[in-house]
Symmetry: C2
Subunit: 313 residues, 2 copies
């Protein structure tokens, strides 16, 4: 096998493992729902080795990991690196797994210790390292949608500042636990970026972001008065929340007008692309999976992991 390194994205609920070759290309991949929640406190090593065994990976193949496995409730804590955080500083903060025969290191998250706008990320910093590597660019604004969306300012290769928008989680808790659960119903509904309701509610939020909590109840009232169907309610709520995030974040971060790097995948990608379009914001899409792999590989290279025999530093 010509694998150079194992690259692992160990999130809260999901685990993804890639074998990468000398150039960072994917040789093999495994996915499971053995995220941090399932693996802690002491299942990490066993789970990883189990997957690597199934892949036939050599026992001495090094592994570079990012994500919640490095949190306080994870495998080994990789303490936050503080903003402003260079990619090299992040790589240097990788924490080894003590007592492991295999060279395993977990990348740190990043903390913004500004008392006015404290914030944390863990896992996204690796995607940001991947973007730097993929775009060959030192300065850009990045939007990273998700349960906790991140908007990040990269300046001269360092994370200069960032903000978190709880957009995905707001959708979940409102749909699942608030009166809006009566509007959205028990089944989950895929929201389409071409859905006129998504686009209208998104545009209304973009035009007037100060009114999100006022508009939330209109979804409930629409169910009662205007026969809004569950799929429509999901589209409305999604448009409302994504529009509010893009309105607020672009005002703060995208002032220069340069295209925003949009790191999204799956169902969120077309929704955010639609919101950017409605907002008149230019963007450069990057596939989230590609970004994290590129970041893990950049970290491994920087740390000299999986150096071919006889290679110079």
């Amino acid at each position: 096998m010509s694998a150079r390194v194992v690259a692992v994205d160990w999130g809260t609920s999901r685990l993804r493992i890639w074998l990468l070759d000398q150039d960072g290309s994917v040789l093999a991949e495994r996915r499971s729902d053995e995220g941090m929640l399932a693996a802690r406190p002491d299942g990490f090593g066993r789970i990883l080795e189990g997957h690597l065994d199934a892949l036939g990976a050599p026992v001495d193949l090094p592994a570079i990991i990012c994500g919640m496995a490095g949190s306080r409730q994870g495998w080994v804590e990789a303490p936050y690196v503080a903003v402003p955080a260079s990619m090299q500083g992040i790589f240097a903060g990788a924490a080894p797994i003590p007592g492991s025969r295999r060279d395993i290191r977990i990348l740190p998250g990043v903390a913004q210790r500004d008392p006015a706008s404290p914030d944390v990320m863990r896992g996204e910093e690796t995607q940001l390292a991947g973007i730097a590597s993929l775009l060959g660019s030192d300065s850009h604004i990045v939007c990273m949608p998700g349960t906790h969306s991140k908007w990040v300012e990269i300046a001269d290769g360092s994370i200069a500042g960032f903000a978190t928008y709880m957009t995905g989680e707001l959708f979940s808790v409102l749909a699942g636990h608030s009166i809006l659960s009566h509007s959205l119903g028990a089944e989950s509904h895929a929201v389409s970026a071409t859905d006129p309701l998504f686009r209208r509610w998104c545009q209304d939020s973009l035009s007037d972001p100060g009114d999100v909590s006022a508009r939330l109840f209109r979804i409930r009232a629409s169910t009662l008065l205007l026969d809004l169907k569950p799929g429509q309610a999901a589209a409305a709520l999604s448009g409302l929340l994504i529009g509010a995030e893009v309105a607020s974040a672009s005002r703060r971060f995208a002032k220069s007008g340069a295209p925003v790097v949009l790191v999204a995948s799956g169902a969120l990608r077309p929704l955010y692309e639609a919101a950017f379009g409605l907002a008149g914001l230019e963007f450069h899409p990057v596939e989230a999976d590609e970004a994290v792999r590129a970041g893990l590989f950049a970290a491994a290279r920087h740390l000299g992991m999986g150096e071919p025999a006889g290679a110079t530093a």
Copy 2:
């Protein structure tokens, strides 16, 4: 007994019953947690009669009811009256309980059928009728904090328009079901209006209401980075959400500068009074219980319920 009428506020989770005399003064009161959720589908009559029996109320004493008992999932549906809704129009929409020996009527809610801003209220309209009666005023802006806060424009004695802010419910679902549950903890914390954290987070929201979802995660980050304690997290979340409501609503409703009628009671009253103070908004406080009783009594009088024998119309 000199009781004229039974006045009932039948909410989702709570039931309150008053015996009122000829002038609307309280002769007796009972409270229980037999709200609509506990009473439906067919326990309403039994529960009401049980309480009136315990109070020694005459079997022919009429009863006027407001609240969720008149909703579709309640005792008898009292269909919404549409905006613009006069107090007389609301009273006239009272639905009788068929087949009851006692004269029992349930007041309707109010619906705003504007497709751009659909909205509904049920129970608050009765408090608004009470305010008209207490203040002797025809035109005013009313703020009614709660699980679903209402801001209402009363013009020439009619409900001209209103908006709902899910402030109380947002607090509950975020504290109970989001990552902020780790910040607030399992116990509930009383928030004081003099708490500097409440005031600071309230002021920040007032200054910049477009950023509520960005600020939510800062509570989580503050727990991780700044040792924010659970009681402090509760104060921060409360200030953030109440400030956002007051900022948005006052911009829409309180443009004239006339004092806003603040109908609050219990723990919410000092918090909203503090928010109004920070916003530089004048207000006129009215006790919520007094408002609902006055509204129920005004309805009973208008409908001729409990007219003394020989009284002229």
